[in-house]
Amino acid sequence: MADTHTENGELTDSEPFEDAQPDYLGAMADSLVLDLDGFEGPIDVLLMLARTHKVDITKISILALAEQYLEFIRRAHALRLEIAADYLVMAAWLAYLKSRLLLPASDEEDEPTGAELAARLAFQLQRLEAMRKASETLMQRPQLGQDFFARGEPDPLIVDTTTVFNATLYDLLTVYGQTRERQGTSTLQIEPVTLYSMDDAMERLGKLLGATPDWTTLAQFLPEEVGDELVMRSAIASTFAASLELARQGKLQLNQSQTFAPIYVRARQDVSDDG
């Protein structure tokens, strides 16, 4: 190890682990690969590598970290393990970062420098690490219901509630009116229907038709004894409907010269007789 690393922990050898005996990093990388399911994405892996690498994350060498991550991805690749896309995105980004760190900074100032990118990554890692530590510290605190307790048997505070109903006279009267109306309809007697029915019309039309071989207006077939206008209208309607039904059955023929003209009716004759 010592010969592949400088004092500040950066890798100097381009192929540090490939053929050397497995060192702890190599072994770790393998176990990382196998346990990848246990990680929450590439940052988590980076954080893990950083922790193993140096205790103080604020002094971590980003370049060394990038190397290790890339090495880890290479190994996983060599083992033909499937690696999720975001791990590969991170690898690409780190490869880019590495090149920016190693190459002299260009003068085009539009893009962040390698050092700036490295600082961003360092910040991200430090911030996440800080939050992890914070969550651990939080959980180590005494907790309610575990280490300290609320009153076990509370004395309830008594609230005397006075209920005021807000109904108005209007509500009362409307409701009463509706109740009475409902009551009214519930005792309604439905009278037998006195309208002229379709059956009546069919019977009457059928009976009279035999006696009328010639065209006769439909009105002639209406019953005469009807006085009530409503019943009369129903007779018109049902007689007309009956004539249609009998025509459909082939028992009579209908003729109307134009809309609203009188309708003529006669018993069915042979087609040859009359077109």
């Binding site: 307790f149 609230v159 109903f165 109904a167 009362l172 109306e181 009105a219 309607a237």
Partner: protein, 210 residues
């Protein structure tokens, strides 16, 4: 743990326990040689003039609010509540038909009256039992109370408008549907302006010759 610490522990246990704790249970949680009765007495003394007292409940111990503070711990609250339609209906029937029995109310409403409905009206103080009907079972009859008259601003139930007045005031709506048959037969309800046939049929289209 010294005596002071042990009393603190006792205090915490009694505070956090879900029910009064017996001296035996306390002994199980404290060192064997702890003078539990003596410490309980000390603790009781420390709370004697506070808002909370340490009291003995049978053979158990518990913290309880000081009895003299009871009245101050109550809070008066007024809640506005809307009366259900069922309750309003029942109330109206009682007002118009009093004295009326529950069975009669049900007959008018054509719905069984749940026990809660009369309870709510009683709770509101708007109805009162009037007496008993001299029929089998001697059912209680109900009437409205003075609070009812007060609340609705009525001098007496005789001031309640009758059905005809309600109708004139537009409080009774006409029933839709059943138009033809109801109007056709109902001679008693003379409504000349109504045209009962409108809905039957657009029968102009079938005009037979006339």
């Amino acid at each position: 743990m010294d005596r002071f610490e042990l009393i603190r522990l006792l205090e915490a246990i009694l505070f956090g326990a879900r029910e009064p704790v017996s001296e035996r249970d306390l002994a199980a949680r404290l060192p064997e040689d702890a003078d539990i009765p003596g410490m309980l007495e000390d603790l009781r003394g420390q709370y004697a003039n506070r808002g909370v007292h340490l009291v003995q409940v049978g053979t158990r111990w518990a913290f309880r609010t000081a009895p003299d503070l009871g009245p101050h711990l109550r809070l008066e609250k007024t809640v506005q509540r809307k009366m259900s339609r069922a309750a309003l209906e029942t109330l109206a029937i009682i007002a118009y038909h009093q004295p009326v029995t529950r069975a009669e109310i049900e007959e008018i409403r054509a719905v069984a009256t749940s026990r809660g409905t009369l309870d709510i009206l009683l709770e509101a103080g708007w109805i009162r039992p009037r007496g008993r009907r001299r029929t089998p079972g001697r059912p209680v009859t109900w009437g409205v109370s003075d609070e009812f008259l007060d609340h609705f601003g009525l001098e007496s139930v005789k001031m309640l408008p009758g059905i005809d007045e309600l109708k004139a005031a537009g409080l009774l709506d006409r029933r839709p549907g059943l138009g033809l048959l109801a109007a056709h037969g109902a001679e008693d309800e003379a409504e000349p302006e109504d045209e009962p046939y409108e809905a039957v049929e657009p029968d102009e289209a079938i005009t037979l010759d006339e």
